[in-house]
């Protein structure tokens, strides 16, 4: 079917490549400073992420929560809200999944697992509810409230893991979730699990929703121009509010999958950074679910590769996170592109001879 096709814009791709190169160079400088060969390290990193069965599987596992969180941020963004609270919503989802996982005994897997997953999503959505209400009813900026939500979530879930939900006085962790609530592993040699399929499914689902359904259409219209949406008969507040809750649900799902597929329990301190990395990756994906999926998969590989590099050399695994941050930093500077364009144009106009038409910068 000849579907709609917007003009393909080369700029973001060029910008991504340029920023990647800059970031790798900067990373390379640091590596040189500590006596490593950057090229050697980068090759190892690539191999560690994308070559070899166990590497690939592990990369996929690392990518899984990032797919969810980047989708979460993306959905919020496409409907015009900034959900910075993904970290917190993830934690709530994780602890809720753990709770559902160890509390409901005697349920068959085909009930227990979906129930736990839904609990995680509900918890995430609920955590997004307060900032959403504050934004849409009381005009309070959601950036600040969602960030504070992260703080509160960190403490609250830590409290839960240390007190009411604690398994035993030895460590701050919940009991293990029952086998009926676990996401089956895909292979024996890696923690990658069915959560990956759910993640990919979600990405494809949202791609489909945005492209082919009225639901996605409404979200896009609200995110692009809320005044227009109101004018054509869409209720922008309701759509954006729903978008934020959906965003929270996905973040909760990320946490749920981490618990039900990888760790089988919640503990304090839980995995950190999935939310903020999700924001960066979601942004790299330039607002498209498929873009976010690809970016997450690529970054999962980079992260795993970084881990492998850490184990075989003494270059720390934080290399991948550092490079990612630098990439986003440079890519975000849209004006940088224009700045260089203006520089080139200025030097061009200096070179023109009389009679040639020069464009004004």
């Amino acid at each position: 079917m000849k579907s709609r096709r917007k003009e393909f814009n080369w700029r973001p791709l060029l910008s991504l490549l340029a920023s990647l190169v800059i970031a790798l160079v900067i990373g390379g400088i640091f590596m040189l400073a500590s006596g490593h060969n950057p090229l050697h390290v980068y090759v190892l990193m690539f191999k560690g992420g994308f070559v070899g069965a166990s590497n690939i599987m592990n990369s996929l596992q690392r990518a899984t929560p990032l797919i969810f969180t980047s989708l979460a941020v993306l959905i919020g963004f496409r409907t015009g809200t900034f959900n910075m609270g993904v970290e917190g919503q993830l934690l709530l989802g994780a602890v809720a999944a753990a709770w559902a996982g160890f509390t409901f005994k005697g349920l068959p897997a085909w009930i227990h697992l979906p129930l736990s997953i839904l609990t995680a999503m509900a918890a995430g959505a609920l955590w997004a509810l307060v900032p959403a209400v504050l934004k849409f009813k009381c005009r309070v900026n959601e950036i600040i409230t969602t960030i504070m939500g992260n703080s509160i979530a960190t403490f609250f879930t830590a409290y839960l893991a240390n007190y009411p939900l604690r398994e035993n006085p030895m460590a701050a962790k919940t009991p293990r979730v029952l086998t009926t609530a676990r996401l089956p592993r895909l292979v024996t040699y890696s923690q990658v699990n069915w959560g990956l399929f759910i993640a990919v499914f979600c990405a494809l689902l949202f791609w489909y929703l945005f492209r082919r359904t009225t639901f996605g259409y409404r979200m896009r219209m609200v995110g692009d121009n809320a005044l227009f949406a109101e004018y054509v008969g869409i209720n922008p507040t309701r759509v954006a509010f729903g978008g934020m809750l959906l965003s929270g649900a996905l973040a909760g799902l990320a946490g749920g999958v981490e618990v039900l597929g990888v760790h089988y329990r919640f503990f304090d301190p839980f995995v950190v950074g999935l939310g903020f990395n999700g924001i960066l990756i979601g942004w790299l994906g330039k607002g498209s679910p498929i873009g976010a999926l690809l970016a997450a998969l690529f970054y999962g590989g980079m992260q795993n590769g970084s881990l492998m590099v850490d184990m075989t050399t003494d270059v720390p695994r934080q290399l991948s996170d550092t490079v990612l941050a630098i990439v986003v930093f440079f890519m975000a500077a849209e004006g940088l592109f224009d700045f260089f364009k203006a520089l080139r144009r200025r030097s061009k106009t200096l070179k023109t001879t009389k009679g040639e038409v020069t464009t004004s910068a």
Partner: protein, 314 residues
């Protein structure tokens, strides 16, 4: 029970824990006065904390540590400012990228440069000496509360007064606040908006870096992973809690500091779990945001109704 807790050591602890939050709040305040939400305070603080240790370690001098720590913070702030203001980078995204970078990079360098994980502590790191104010230090009760802190603590609390004077009594401060409220008005009167905003960002970088230096060289002399522990964000919250004023921010920081100190004290004893205590000030802040927003909406509604009644009666 509260009586038992409110002893001198508690007050000292509160002041110490409040100091980095206060500095972050001042940083948040000066940028938000100009209409900028500075998310990058957290990352700036962390990077400064790390490089302060680096400076102190390699030069065996706390002042070098201070210099390098603050220099790092200002550099980050400069990048943040230039990229957001001149190159039109998305300010929130920039902040998050800087924080992510700081997180990853400090751990990277910790392990790469010092070959340790988790925390780095070494006798070669020189920290700040405590400042003992003569005469005052011997006053019972008041003495230990006022005297005996690292210099940065005094700088921070004095900064509150300085900032108050700056914001309300100097032309630069007035211009800053004008830009935050109505940029067009400032621009139409010839104020260079970009320059003032950049200055605000640099100032906030300075304060955040001081907070970072204090964290790693002030009370303890070490660097731990993720040392800033969200204080950059707490600073934003404290600024909102304090309604964007220096004194309000100071009071809010004390509340957050008290919660920190209380949580530490409660660890190990029974009673209220420390996490709930730590949670409380943030919850309070959200409550305040809510109340302010409701009041604003009510005022607008009231004005409108009044005008409508007037029109009908004419």
């Amino acid at each position: 029970m509260l009586r038992d807790l409110l002893d001198i050591s508690m007050i000292q602890s509160t002041i110490r824990m409040a100091t980095p939050v206060l500095l972050a709040a001042m940083g948040a305040m000066v940028t938000s006065a100009a209409g900028i939400i500075n998310i990058s305070l957290e990352g700036t603080m962390l990077l400064s904390a790390f490089f302060a240790v680096v400076g102190s370690y390699f030069f065996s001098s706390v002042w070098m540590g201070l210099l390098i720590g603050v220099g790092t913070g200002m550099l980050v702030a400069l990048l943040f400012g230039v990229f957001s203001l001149r190159f039109r980078a998305h300010i929130i995204l920039m902040g998050i990228a800087i924080n992510a970078f700081a997180n990853a990079f400090t751990i990277y360098m910790l392990r790469s440069m010092f070959k340790v994980a988790g925390a780095f502590s070494d006798p070669r790191i020189v920290g700040f000496d405590q400042v003992h104010i003569p005469i005052i230090k011997d006053i019972p009760v008041l003495g230990p509360i006022v005297s005996g802190y690292a210099p940065i603590v005094y700088v921070a609390w004095l900064l509150v007064i300085v900032m108050h004077i700056f914001l309300y009594r100097t032309p630069a401060g007035v211009h800053l606040r004008a830009i935050g409220e109505n940029e067009e008005a400032a621009e139409s009167l010839g104020i260079n908006v970009e320059r003032v905003k950049l200055l605000a960002v640099l100032l906030s970088g300075l304060f955040a870096s001081l907070a970072g230096v204090y964290l790693s060289l002030g009370h303890l002399t070490m660097f731990t992973e993720n040392m800033s522990a969200n204080r950059g964000f707490v600073g934003l919250a404290a600024n909102i809690f304090g309604r964007g004023t220096p004194i309000g921010g100071a009071l809010a920081s004390l509340i957050f500091g008290f919660a920190d100190a209380l949580a530490m004290r409660l660890q190990g004893t029974g009673g209220i779990p420390s996490q709930l205590v730590l949670m409380f000030p943030s919850v309070l802040t959200i409550g305040i945001l809510l109340m302010v927003a409701i009041k604003l909406a009510r005022d607008v509604q009231r004005t409108k109704l009044r005008n409508v009644e007037k029109a009908l009666s004419e």
